[in-house]
Amino acid sequence: QQAETPKGRVFAAPSARRLARELDVDINAVDGSGPGGRVTDADVQAAANGRMDSGVEDSEEESD
């Protein structure tokens, strides 16, 4: 449901963007739950957790 953000603009606070880098999350691929679709810290954290969860489920896929 993430509307395609034209040309590299990310609608997220600098702190959320740093968190995404820290957790190795591609913030462009995160669904934003904030006003207008802004990506929040919680969204980034959820994306990281989700990936970890799916990482556990499909552990073979992760092996690259």
């Binding site: 034209p6 603009r9 609608f11 606070a13 600098p14 880098r21 207008g36 802004r38």
Partner: protein, 475 residues
């Protein structure tokens, strides 16, 4: 730590002590890295010594003198006399304090300071020539290097800055008297800022510009406001002409000769001529050949999102790393380079670099214009508020200009803003935060703004974009 002629080693070597370099060095040292900063000249670079700070000091001074002399309507009757040498002394005092401060901050943070000119020996060492006779040189080995050598004024044929009547921006900031007549070559931001200074001090200023308008980097309705006011200040503009030469004239002054594309000549009498046609990066004196690093067409060192050049452990920041050539972009790149070297998850992921022009009135912009937003694929909505509807602006006697906000129609996200008017350089800070945070029009409109302030124009422009303005009629 570093002793002459003996090769020493450092974790991080920073070349150049301007805004990009000193900030990078301080941050690297703060991160516990052994850091060495090599600077051949004064600390603070162009910005502190002959750029941002001295120009803003003279702008403030000229502005105060001019304001006070033109405030009869307010009931203030004054005829200020300006002692230019004294104004320049005052400015020099500020510069000294700031450059001394940079040196102190470097030392307090544990940065090793080395005076001299660095050139690459190989990918992991430089040679530092201490300059001056018998000063010798030394080698410094490094694990990582940050190149922050900045930029220098471009010179045009027949106008040699060594000749007395020819001024670069540096010389124009160091005059000991106010010239009667000044020809300014170039109507970019430096040319326009300095033209305004001298026009306000009483100089007859004539601007010659190759292009067909002032401040081509800005939208027409913005540069128009500045041009109109510049004309009111007595500045004359001649577009479509390039300066070709100057000669001494019989009245003791000079004649500046210009040429159109078609070869048509004009002449302008003057006492001094200021050449302000741009700046180019300093890469030629670095010995880049020794490491096989090649500048791009513009002469800049290309870098990635981590401020790294093509050589992984060699970084470039500030003017030498590309446009926009602004001190605060250099700060940011310096910080990021140092943090990346320290192994932190830093990156150049900012959304926007604000920019200000300290003309009268000031211009300040951040993020996208309406056209840029369209090009990027947004459906932009625009809100505007003129300063002549601002109570605070009226009480300062400065009501020219407007504030514009550009947002994405669907989401309301603020994409950018353009302000031309009083204190634009300060007001843009709120919009920069809005752009960086992903704020919406509603966020800015709902934030209570102090009355009476100029900053209310930002709120009102956001409301206007939403058809919710109170103090102007909506679109």
């Amino acid at each position: 730590m570093v002793v002459g002629d003996i090769s020493t080693g450092t974790d991080v070597l920073v070349i150049g002590g301007g805004p990009g370099g000193y900030v990078a060095a301080i941050r690297a040292a703060q991160r516990g890295l052994d850091t060495t900063l090599v600077e051949k000249d004064n600390y603070g670079g162009v910005c502190l010594n002959r750029g941002c700070i001295p120009s803003k000091a003279l702008i403030t001074g000229a502005d105060l003198a001019h304001e006070a002399g033109n405030a009869e309507e307010m009931g203030i009757h004054a005829d200020p006399a300006v002692d230019m040498a004294q104004m320049v002394d005052w400015k020099d005092g500020i510069v000294d304090q700031l450059t001394g401060g940079v040196e102190k901050l470097c030392k307090a943070n544990g940065v090793n300071l080395v005076k001299g000119t660095a050139t690459f020996k190989d990918e992991n060492s430089v040679r530092v020539a201490h300059g001056g006779e018998g000063q010798g040189s030394e080698s410094i080995e490094f694990d990582s290097c940050i190149v922050a050598t900045g930029s220098r004024t471009i010179q045009i044929p027949n106008f040699d800055y060594a000749d007395d009547p020819v001024l670069g921006s540096k010389e124009a900031l160091d005059m000991d008297s106010i010239p009667e007549r000044l020809v300014v070559v170039g109507a970019g931001y430096i040319g326009m800022e300095l033209s305004t200074v001298y026009a306000k001090l009483g100089t007859e200023v004539t601007v010659v510009e190759m292009l067909d308008d002032v401040l081509p980097a800005y939208e027409d309705d913005i540069s128009k406001v500045v041009k109109r006011r510049a004309k009111d200040l007595g500045i004359e503009f001649n577009f479509g002409e390039g300066a070709s030469e100057w000669r001494e004239s019989s009245d003791g002054g000079i004649t500046v000769v210009t040429e159109t594309e078609d070869g048509e000549e004009s002449t302008y009498p003057a006492d001094k001529v200021l050449v302000a046609v741009g700046r180019s990066p300093v890469t030629d004196t670095l010995g880049l050949d020794a490491i096989g690093l090649e500048p791009n067409e513009g002469g800049f060192l290309e870098t990635d999102d981590y401020a790294r050049t093509d050589i992984d452990h060699i970084y470039a920041v500030g003017d030498v790393a590309g446009e926009p050539m602004l001190a605060h972009k250099a700060f940011k790149e310096g910080i990021v380079a140092a943090e990346v070297i320290a192994g932190e998850p830093a990156a150049l992921d900012y959304q926007a670099v604000p920019a200000a022009v300290f003309t009268d009135p000031e211009i300040a912009t951040v993020g996208m214009t309406k056209d840029e937003a369209e090009e990027a694929g947004f459906t932009p909505v625009v809100g505007q508020m003129p300063f002549n509807a601002s109570g605070r602006a009226m009480t300062t006697g400065h009501t020219e200009g407007f504030c514009r906000i550009v947002a994405d129609e669907d989401s309301g996200f603020i994409l950018g803003g353009q302000i031309v008017g009083p204190e634009a350089s300060e007001l843009i800070a709120e919009l920069a935060l809005a752009v960086e945070m992903g704020a919406t029009l509603e966020d800015v409109a709902a934030t209570i703004h102090t009355h009476p302030t100029l900053a209310e124009v930002i709120q009102e422009a956001a409301e206007n974009a939403e058809d919710q303005a109170i103090h102007t009629l909506n679109r």
